[in-house]
Symmetry: C2
């Protein structure tokens, strides 16, 4: 990767070459062969798989081998609360929900309320407590099965998690943490330890069940480093290495190259799930990077460039209907669809989704406690 | 300190110069002036204070100021379970019990069951779980007030402790931990984090009470480093810096210089609280370093050296009666008391103590759960 491309758990920026990511970090492509294996069980193929939004994996063939032998897996993903949830966060969760439904499996959802506290100077534990609740509402609003979904909140489940994290931590040295995360001698000792807590939900259900259960983690590629680092330790502790599926980054409103992936802390890159419809309209119109031409005349003549147009790219993450999407692509490319019209399609799509999401988010307020794991 | 003198939480060895320890680590002497201040409240002075076994402190005058203003303190000490309790461990606890009685205060007793697991290659969490229970019996056997004594077991109280430890950890960098504990890049990330957990009981009662409560920590000098390192962080979090009282090291059977402080992992240095009376007799007779002369004739003529005689030194930690002790000192010094006779005095003292301790230790088995903190 060139130096101007950054992929860490804290920053993603640049014109990402996803093939190079696969090569550099030793993951595997999600190709037609494995898609067909998945389809045998799911009947259809989620649009995020069809469109290669989930593009890379680790040990997915092994996971399917186990599944086919009757050894069901569980899902594990999460969210470190530090601010409002935006559309980019929803991408892996929407896919995770599909996996939960299709494979009829348990989901362990981690809300590590200490992580961002440790990594962000000005964030307090009171702040992350508030965001833990707020973010939990967004997760529930997506419709995860309450009987099969278990929230783990690090400080509230420390009685379960700290003991297991310590076992992971014993097998990891500072120099290896330094190499994996780019830590320095000035890194605080909580940050250094934290990755051990993130490893725990990948094997905690096995600890609780008293038997090894395979684990599948759908996540953004930037989070891969945690498991790249701890997978072999998990296996040394006597559990299965978790399998992983990686998704691409939803670009910020101004594009990946200029601005990086959507960031909750930058108002100008993100659409939050709690944004009003006026706010959505305003931000898309004002900030969404356009692949259109300078003038309408020129656009009609030469056509726009959907490859760099953020509104179009967002629709590839959000519009389930392939035919609709293809039509938009073609019309934008041939100039019959103007940038303002494309933006309008996205605004309507987003606002329709958010209206429903916000309604469910309101209902979720009564359900939060019931999603929090209590079986201990 | 010379290089052949070692004082770390993991090793104590050499001919310790306690005045130099005070100077080097910036603590204060426990002198007659402060003893008189203590005596105002306790009426008598514990023999461990009279004999300067507790020889050093931090902020004890401040603590007494607060006490005299009506601002009661709580006590905090602990034990990292990794093996059986020996006589050396009991020294600060016996004194702590006296403080609890005289000042009528709460005691928070930490049993960090992850600490030695992280620091000892071959120790498992199952091992430390077993030793947590076994060691708790010894603490209870000393007679701490059940209504005022609260055990904190790190993995069982992680829901209370981890959240607070993370706040401590955020303010400590790896380079400062390196300097304080001599860590290297090959230190595991659990060890690096652990000191934050040890800091927590010094302010947890304040968190629970919702107000600042002074804290007094009686401990062996080797444990001072944890609080030297975290005291200022605790104050940055808005709590009082804990006051500390430091005790000398009970030498191993073969003497501090040769063998270091009594160590639970070395059978030949230690008398365990669960040793049989035959075992005590055997070990003292075989291993206890003698300050006597080569022959009985020479001993009668020139006298022995109580300063280097381990049996005598142990009696200074165990024999409450000053007059008895003085008589033993004089008789050994003038040669009328032989080493074998001195050893016999120690054997009888120890076995009398251990018989009673073991009886109470048996009764403690029904009480352990009642000492474990549950108010959360």
């Amino acid at each position: 990767m060139k130096k101007d491309i950054i992929v860490t758990p804290w920053e993603v920026k640049g014109n990402i070459d996803y093939d190079k990511l696969i090569k550099e970090f030793g993951t595997e492509k999600i190709d037609d062969k494995i898609l067909n294996r998945i389809k045998k069980h799911t009947k259809d193929i989620h649009y995020m798989l069809r469109r290669n939004i989930f593009f890379s994996h680790r040990d997915l063939n092994w996971l399917l081998d186990e599944y086919e032998k009757g050894n069901k897996f569980f899902l594990y993903t999460g969210r470190a609360p530090s601010g409002p949830v935006h559309i980019g966060h929803l991408v892996p969760w929407i896919f995770t929900k599909w996996l939960q439904e299709k494979f009829n499996v348990e989901l362990w959802f981690q809300l590590p309320d200490e992580e961002k506290f440790l990594f962000k100077e000005n964030l307090t534990m009171k702040d992350t407590e508030k965001w833990t609740y707020e973010n939990a509402l967004d997760v529930i609003a997506l419709g995860f099965d309450r009987r099969k979904t278990h929230f783990l909140i690090d400080t509230r489940h420390a009685n379960l998690m700290y003991k297991e994290a310590v076992k992971v931590a014993k097998k990891l040295t500072f120099s290896s943490a330094k190499a994996a995360f780019g830590f320095t001698n000035e890194t605080n000792i909580g940050q250094i330890f934290y990755t051990a807590m993130q490893a725990v939900p990948a094997f905690l259900p096995s600890v609780l069940a008293g038997k090894k259960i395979p684990c599948l983690i759908p996540l953004g590629f930037d989070q891969d480093v945690h498991f790249r680092y701890t997978r072999s330790v998990i296996s040394k502790l006597g559990y299965y290495k978790p399998a992983i599926m990686h998704c691409r980054f939803l670009p910020g409103l101004q594009g990946l190259e200029k601005q990086g992936k959507m960031s909750a802390s930058d108002e100008q890159t993100a659409i939050y799930t709690i944004d009003s419809k006026e706010n959505v309209e305003f931000k898309i119109k004002k900030y969404a990077f356009s692949g259109g031409r300078e003038t309408i005349k020129e656009h009609r003549k030469k056509g726009g460039n959907p490859e760099i147009d953020v509104s179009y790219q967002w629709l590839t993450f959000l519009e389930e209907d392939d035919k609709k999407l293809e039509k938009i692509y073609n019309n934008y490319k041939n100039g019959s669809l103007l940038t303002s019209e494309l933006k309008q399609i996205l605004i309507e799509k987003l606002n329709k989704f958010l209206k429903e999401h916000q309604r469910k988010r309101e209902l979720a307020k009564k359900q939060v406690e019931r999603y929090i794991y209590k079986g201990f």
